[in-house]
């Protein structure tokens, strides 16, 4: 099962092939109009309202919110944790993909399904699931509630599939001839991996890592029960936004939200560029 809940190399894009496309007819024109209105009402206008609310107080107010010691601590913690998780995932995700593609053993198909579970589980359930083993009533005596390790573990859980699912299909498609050629020329397995296999996996690892990073930065549901939400200690950006909303500070919430939105947009652009580069190379 290399099919996935994560889009393989990021989102599907129509190719730049404008010839052979129909021109808009009156009917399809109306359809496009309706679709655009709904998309604007549901997505674009609300997101614009966030940017508007963040900009309402001017640059100074925006800057003051973000550099407020407590908010800044939350942002720094979020970025550091997300970066750590991304690095760990880039390595372990590649290893998992490698084992799932190249190794062969009893129960491998089950592992393949297990990979998708963190993605299919509702986030709040993911948090609860982790707490049963690593929470206050842990049978193994580990309690991660209100610790940074807990946040790390939750993020590791929810971002598990990203790198695995982007690397796996590339690894399957990889031409074995080149590896055999390298081996026959005396390259060790490690050299073959480093010089032959790894370079062709880099775009997939990059794509998976950026998806995972974006997810980790914006993660909310799985952290609600685990992060104790202590200011300066275990408060992350998304929970900080919630606190702002509950405190009726819409401008503060919007300021942090704009930052998260920016990360989301940058991720999409990076993925688009990676996907196009891969497509160009055929």
């Amino acid at each position: 099962m290399t099919d996935t809940l994560v889009a393989p190399t990021g989102p599907a894009r129509p190719t730049r092939r404008s010839s052979g496309l129909f021109r808009l007819t009156p009917t399809s024109g109306i359809g496009l109009g309706v679709a655009l209105v709904w998309f604007s009402v549901l997505v674009l206008l609300p997101l614009a309202a966030v940017v508007g609310a963040a900009a309402a107080g001017g640059w100074g107010a925006f800057w003051n919110t973000l550099t407020d010691a407590q908010t800044f601590a939350a942002l720094r913690l979020t970025v550091v944790e997300a970066a750590l998780v991304t690095v760990v995932n880039a390595v372990i995700g590649t290893v998992v993909a490698w084992v799932l593609v190249r190794d062969k053993f009893f129960g491998k198909r089950i592992l393949d399904v297990v990979i998708d579970i963190p993605f299919a589980l509702p986030t709040i359930v993911a948090g609860l699931v982790l707490l049963t083993l690593y929470g206050p009533e842990s049978p193994v005596g580990i309690n991660i509630v209100n610790t940074r390790e807990g946040i790390f573990l939750a993020l590791l859980f929810v971002t598990l599939p990203f790198v695995v699912r982007t690397v796996q299909p590339v690894l399957i498609e990889l031409d074995a001839d080149v590896e055999e050629a390298a081996a026959s020329l005396g390259a060790s397995r490690f050299t073959t991996f480093r010089r032959i296999i790894l370079p062709s996996l880099v775009p997939a690892i990059t794509a998976g890592s950026s998806l995972g990073f974006a997810r980790a930065i914006s993660e909310f549901g799985s952290l609600v029960l685990i992060s104790g939400n202590t200011p300066y200690q275990t408060e992350v950006a998304s929970l900080k936004i919630l606190k702002f909303i509950e405190g009726d500070n819409q401008a503060g919430a919007a300021a942090v939200a704009v930052l998260l939105l920016l990360v989301a947009i940058v991720t999409i652009v990076v993925l688009d560029l990676v996907a196009r580069r891969v497509a160009r190379r055929g």
């Binding site: 099962m1 099919d3 989102p11 599907a12 129509p14 190719t15 730049r16 052979g20 496309l21 021109r23 007819t25 399809s28 679709a35 998309f39 549901l42 609300p46 997101l47 309202a49 966030v50 508007g52 998992v96 593609v101 190794d103 062969k104 592992l111 399904v113 297990v114 990979i115 299919a120 589980l121 509702p122 986030t123 709040i124 359930v125 609860l128 699931v129 049963t132 083993l133 690593y134 049978p139 573990l153 859980f157 598990l160 074995a176 397995r189 974006a214 997810r215 930065i217 914006s218 909310f220 029960l225 909303i245 819409q250 919430a253 919007a254 939200a257 989301a264 947009i265 999409i268 688009d272």
Partner: protein, 282 residues
Amino acid sequence: MADTRQIRARKGPVTYALRFFVIAYLAVLVVWPLWEVTSRTFAPVERGAEGGFSAFLERLQDPTVTYAFSLTATCAFWAVLINTVFGVGISLLITRYNFPGRRILSVLIDLPMSVSPVVVGLALVLAYSSGQGWFGGALESAGIFIIGSTPGMIMATAFVSLPLVIREVVPVLEEIGIDSELAASSLGANGWQIFRRITLPSIKWAVVYGVVLSLARSLGEFGAVKIVSPGAALRGETATILIQNRYTNFEEPTAYAAAFVLVLASVLALVVVSLIRKEDHS
């Protein structure tokens, strides 16, 4: 596949070490916690109390729990319905028609998946709440309240699962091309006939796949819904919000029971998805 057989045949200690590592990692991160949730769902609450399946069912029959699940089902149903119609329509438009902004639209369509759920909730509040929203005042004078009621929760659910159908349908539409559609058109078929007789049969499985993914995502949505919902028992409390409320109120057995139902739903979705993929490939 046959190409990698030779490489697979060389099994050294590294192979076994990696295999062991991957199994152990997935066991500790995913399988064991899942097992723990299952066993707690069916465990007796206290010494001498009744555990097992009947106690589990009893917890689910609590009126607040049935309300939560029916509200979740309502939101998911409408969100999936809207997203399916919108998704198929917009997929046809961006793969079949040429219009200005086609490429930008296809990139923007993916944005909802990368936006943090909290930001989604905040965005809807800032656009439509009667107190502070851009359009809240106008809607209020028309007697429409979106935030804090079911329509807002449906919108939040639709927002987060918006691209799932499109992601599945667009690649298939690209792959099948427009030749048979052109042929049908030259033989005098009208737009609807072409869609029903030519296009729909070829995207059938992609649509079903997208619907299953959207459904799974919608049933489990937490963050975005939490912010636009009043979130109190029997008043806007969906299944995921119920899990949070019960867990934090030390009513773990109910939280576990509800969580277990959602775990089952997502595992079921995974199974269905892998069956569809098989069907689709054969």
